[in-house]
Subunit: 223 residues, 2 copies
Amino acid sequence: MLVNMTDRAPTRTAGRVRTYDALAIPLTDDVTETALRLMEAAADAFADKGFHATTTRDVASRAGLSPAGVYVHFASKEELLFSICMRGHTAARDMIVDAAAAADSPVDALAAIMTNFSRWHAEHYRVGRIVQYEFAHLTPAHREAVMGLRKEIDAQVRSVLLDGIGRGDFVIDDVPHTTLALMSLCIDVARWYQPGIKRTPAEIGETNGRLGLRLAGARWAAT
Amino acid sequence: MLVNMTDRAPTRTAGRVRTYDALAIPLTDDVTETALRLMEAAADAFADKGFHATTTRDVASRAGLSPAGVYVHFASKEELLFSICMRGHTAARDMIVDAAAAADSPVDALAAIMTNFSRWHAEHYRVGRIVQYEFAHLTPAHREAVMGLRKEIDAQVRSVLLDGIGRGDFVIDDVPHTTLALMSLCIDVARWYQPGIKRTPAEIGETNGRLGLRLAGARWAAT
DNA sequence: GCCATGACTAAGCGCTTGCTTAGTCTTTGA
DNA sequence: TCAAAGACTAAGCAAGCGCTTAGTCATGGC
């Protein structure tokens, strides 16, 4: 991985902080309950106010700590944002890989990806907005790490499309652009979804599953 | 309109500031060159750094003024953001209304809307990002004004779809959701577009025009 | 039991930020 | 011509902000 959090100067907290890998994903179950609580608090505050308008005091108090307590577990406010982005993208990547692996055909795989990814963005629209809107506040190295995961997601979807084209299930002029368009349907749910609207996340997922097949020119999608 | 900038307490600058209407759109050609310059500078800075991380000093210096100079023309930093959002949305609304009016059929109207709106988001991806990502920093009243324009845009697209359904040109299960999906294709271009990529804004527009007709289940779109 | 480590705190640092105030200079209108 | 208005400035205010430092307390290992 591109980033190693041991870059941080050794302090009394170095041993604990180093239990994370660069993905800020727990390697084992020994991630502290406090660090998790901080990430959740930060996600909450960032979603409410945006990254820069969120103070570390706000994050700390939401997590029930003093302001300096944040720095026991994270090197900086940006590191908190990075952790949230990496967790979100890793979850999305895994979901897409699993959906594709479980499907019997490219058509099923695409429908499952669209359905699940769209539902996820509705259910997690707040994290989805953070991940999109606050991306520019990451350090260049951290942005690169996040882009790596985005590219994996893109590549997985693209390979489903190519497989479907190969089998004659999809009719697509421009695969890269169609991939982007499919991803747009899913990702943009985070922008327009809000709790209380008539459609449930599951319904949104299903509708986008069908619409995605239309975009791919799936044979039976036009009816 | 919901908001009237004359709410601001009278100062020596009240006369000048009141030449804007609540849309922050120039009513006549007497908008000052300085105010325009400030809006452009703010858009630049907001796109680079985000709203909250942008200082009024930064905006002022980009516009060639002292920090206090911003307040001669705008009541607050937020008012600058509001102006930018309203100008962007008004331009988009007008573009969509014009495209629909110039078309001979719902199919042509939808293709034109998708093509032009997508191209606009590529060409103005920085303003597009500001408008999406910084929306939450507007005051509630200003957000409501912006939402009003968004609803007009949505309604225009929806009426094209309904017209097409009525003529048998489109096959759509869920009109509101399909409207959102069509808008997602266009709006999300601002997220993924960056200068230097292979596709030009015009090409992106054309491809999205075709993909939009697929989403609408246009009869010949599947071939 | 003792010492080292880790989790956490209160206090504070040095700097920044949106905005205001009191002024100067230029332009406009009577 | 003169006064008022408008465009703008330099200076400053009050509050805030990410982060550091020096300390306390609890836990775990020897």
